[in-house]
């Protein structure tokens, strides 16, 4: 401790524990969604996700082999096998079992039970069973057996196959790995020249490369049969990307020029303009919905990507100009004046000096705009999504799932997790710039 403040050791433990509790409380809901997305519908519906890490006692309904598999053993007709193997499950230890749904715990492993239709059945602890009778078995289906067993925690990738298409997760992991490798190469290549910016460029290049791969090679190798959500979630994923990328890039340039003029050029009305931008910063975009939708319809854009790109650009500009201007004002005056004395025009100063120096502010805004456009629902609902639903975005898809399939937690959790995973990656990779932007952007 390099100062005397806060060195009271009696409080340290209390502080540690409170922070652990606080972080736990904040993390807990998200972890719930994450864990749920890897559980089957049955598991989600029958036990809380916080129990997913531990073995649980489960009641399973399994079936012995069908009568057609019987073999004759002397005078007896016998059906033999293993209950778990027949169901395609891993073998677990059975604690009790039964043959009627009313008494599922009637027998212990090794007991012999009398069947209602005649004959006997016995089930061993490992799931091996033997059904025997002096007469031949008839009928189509095998005997039902209810077993109670300690089932170890089990996780599945099936939800991701249903939500995004077959093999979506392994492919995404592969693309991400490719992105990481490319990012690493960029980092190593740039480290010598721009030690400070190498990391940001590497992250940006990695993410862009992964996205490019997703676009070029597709998200999955096909959809799960009968899953309507697979198609639409994958489509919504691409649509969201299509909305986000132009809506992030275009405002940056427009705002940068305006911010430079407001920061370093002297002209009448400048202070008034800055005040106006501060005012526009808080104007609720709710006001813009109807007038602009009408305008878009009148000039023939209607509902579609062009409209939503323009809208996001317009709504993002005040923050962009404000952030960039605040940053540019703080740049050293000498550099700019020296350049002026040397005969550089404003255009040259801007392109060659200001723009490269403003990189941190540009990155901050890019992250804000990316998060905002990716997470947006309202603007997409109003300016993008038409009656055909071809241009739906992820947030809209999730709201729809919430409404129509409120019970299908496995799909809902998976879809929601996919939609928040991308912002989370950006968040953790570029957190430094986000914090810097927040600090500069909150009106002091």
């Amino acid at each position: 401790m390099d100062n005397i403040a806060g060195s009271k050791s009696s409080l340290t433990w209390a502080v540690q524990i409170s922070v652990i509790l606080l972080v736990g409380l904040w993390l807990f809901p998200t972890v719930g969604l994450f864990v749920s997305s890897f559980r089957t519908a049955d598991q989600i519906a029958t036990s809380g996700w916080w129990k997913a890490m531990f073995p649980s006692e489960q009641n399973l309904t399994l079936r012995a082999g069908a009568p057609e598999t019987q073999v004759q053993d002397g005078t007896l007709f016998v059906i033999e096998g293993n209950l778990f193997d027949a169901d395609g499950r891993d073998r677990v230890a059975i604690s009790v079992w039964g043959i009627s749904s009313k008494a599922i715990d009637a027998f212990r492993p090794g007991d012999v039970a009398e069947l209602r239709k005649g004959g006997t059945i016995t089930v061993q602890e490992n799931g091996d069973y033997r059904v025997e009778n002096t007469e031949a078995f008839s009928g189509k289906r095998g005997q039902r057996v209810f077993v109670t067993a300690e089932v170890p925690p089990e996780f599945t990738l099936k939800n991701y196959d249903t939500a995004l298409g077959v093999n979506a997760l392994p492919r995404l992991a592969m693309f991400a790995l490719a992105g990481v490798i490319l990012g690493g190469v960029v980092y190593v290549a740039l480290r010598g020249m721009h030690p400070e910016r190498a990391r940001s460029w590497a992250v940006a290049a990695g993410i862009l490369f992964s996205l490019l791969l997703i676009f070029a090679l597709g998200l999955s190798t096909g959809t799960v049969e009968g899953a309507q959500t697979g198609d639409s979630m994958a489509k919504a994923f691409f649509n969201t990307l299509t909305v986000t990328i132009p809506a992030t890039i275009i405002p940056i340039l427009v705002a940068a020029f305006a911010a430079y003029a407001l920061a370093w050029m002297d002209f009448p009305g400048r202070a008034l303009l800055i005040a106006a931008i501060v005012a526009l910063l808080v104007v609720p975009l709710q006001l813009a919905l109807i007038p602009l939708l009408k305008l878009h319809n009148e000039i023939g854009i209607g509902k579609g990507y062009v409209g939503v790109w323009l809208a996001h650009t317009g709504f993002g500009l005040p923050l962009a100009i404000y952030l960039l201007r605040n940053y540019m004002v703080g740049l050293p005056k000498d550099i700019i004046e020296n350049a002026r004395v040397d005969g550089a025009t404003d255009f040259q100063i801007f392109v060659k000096i200001i723009l490269p120096l403003s990189f941190p502010a540009l990155a901050s805004f890019a992250i804000f705009q990316f998060l905002w456009t990716w997470n947006d629902l309202l603007v997409a609902l109003v300016f993008l999504i038409d009656a055909t639903g071809e241009t739906t975005v992820m947030t809209k898809q999730i709201v729809e799932l919430l409404g129509t399939r409120g019970g299908n937690w496995e799909i809902l959790a998976t879809a929601a997790f996919v939609s928040i995973a991308v912002p989370l990656i950006v968040f953790f990779a570029m957190q430094k710039y986000l914090v810097r932007g927040l600090l500069a952007g909150s009106v002091k």
């Binding site: 401790m1 990307l241 427009v254 705002a255 003029a261 006001l287 629902l377 309202l378």
Partner: protein, 333 residues
């Protein structure tokens, strides 16, 4: 055309168009309109420099005007006209109609609750988190985990919290943690949290508090770091305990920042739409203004009343707008 291709073309056209506009308009100004040579070279340079700021500003001003300033005026006009009467001027009829609706007053009451509780709780939790993590070895990790919900969409957060609030019949295992805790504490019945009138508002607010605390923490944490060490050390020498230091020494010094955080979250609250839209859609007395407005505009197709509701939101934002502008101007002087 494939949307991705359209997107790529838009990026190229958009960025290329911007670069082209700035470059060519500057060239035009310097080479054609006011060339810096000949008899009037000096005067031309001055003239060009008078016009150049407006060249730089023009696209941004156009977009700002069209997408933010014009709608304010147009919404005001629409709120005074009636769609059924072919857009005729009806004065305050839309407002009168809206004020007569119980749903509107429900939205107003809820919005006021949101306005008081969400900024207060977010700021309080943010301050607590900022102070506690300030001198911790793993403080930065803790901070980034509390900050994380900022990256999650309101819709994603709605799903996350719906799982927390989930209710199952009593004979089944509860999969929502809140009901599981309630039952393990000995309650008889699980609750359907989102349908309990009045109190369900607080369950919705919890979502926004969960998101905004990270924002408050980041800003306040930076402010706490900015407090001069001497003031704290002087207090310790004078025998102040940690609580006195926090409340009497630190809080007064960051009061300005607390106000900024408070007002910023207030604006977020006024615009809150997605959380209510996704979780209850205004049922069970959870309506808020932004969702009420959306209902009027796109479900009832009544842009008169919808615009009137939008104007109410604008009216509520205005004091903060004026305050921000006042402060920004003061700072520039």
């Amino acid at each position: 055309m494939h949307p991705a291709l359209q997107g790529l073309i838009t990026i190229i056209v958009g960025v290329g168009g911007c670069v082209g506009y700035y470059y060519l308009s500057n060239q035009f100004l310097d080479k054609v309109l006011f060339p810096a040579r000949g008899a009037n070279a000096g005067r031309n340079i001055n003239r060009a420099n008078m016009i150049r700021p407006w060249l730089f500003l023009a696209p941004a001003l156009f977009a700002l005007g069209l997408y933010l300033a014009y709608p304010v005026v147009e919404t005001l006009r629409l709120s005074l006209t009636d769609r059924d009467a072919g857009g005729a001027f009806v004065g305050g009829a839309n407002y009168a109609q809206m004020f007569a609706e119980p749903k509107f007053w429900e939205a107003m009451r809820n919005n006021m609750l949101w306005l008081i509780i969400v900024p207060a709780m977010s700021t309080a939790f943010g301050l607590l988190a900022a102070q506690l993590t300030d001198r911790l070895a793993w403080g930065n990790i803790a901070k980034s985990l509390i900050f994380m919900p900022m990256a999650i969409s309101f819709v994603g957060a709605a799903v996350i919290w719906k799982l927390v609030y989930d209710t199952r019949p009593i004979e089944q295992d509860q999969i929502g943690i809140l009901n599981a805790i309630l039952l393990s504490l000995g309650a008889e019945e699980p609750r359907t949290w989102l349908t309990i009138p009045f109190w369900n508002n607080f369950f919705l607010m919890a979502v926004l508090i969960w998101i905004q605390t990270g924002f408050a923490m980041v800003i306040l944490s930076a402010a706490l770091r900015g407090i001069p060490e001497e003031t704290v050390e002087a207090a310790i020498v004078d025998g102040a305990n940690p609580f006195q230091i926090f409340f009497r020494i630190k809080i007064p010094q960051i009061a300005g920042t607390i106000v900024v955080v408070w007002t910023t979250i207030t604006i977020v609250v006024l615009k809150v739409f997605d959380i209510v839209f996704a979780m209850t859609n205004g049922q069970w007395e959870t309506q808020v203004l932004a969702n009420y407005m959306y209902d009027k505009l796109f479900r009832a197709n009544d842009w008169g009343v919808g615009s009137a509701a939008a104007m109410i939101i604008m009216l509520l934002v205005t004091p903060i707008l004026v305050w921000n502008v006042y402060n920004a101007r003061k700072e520039m002087k």
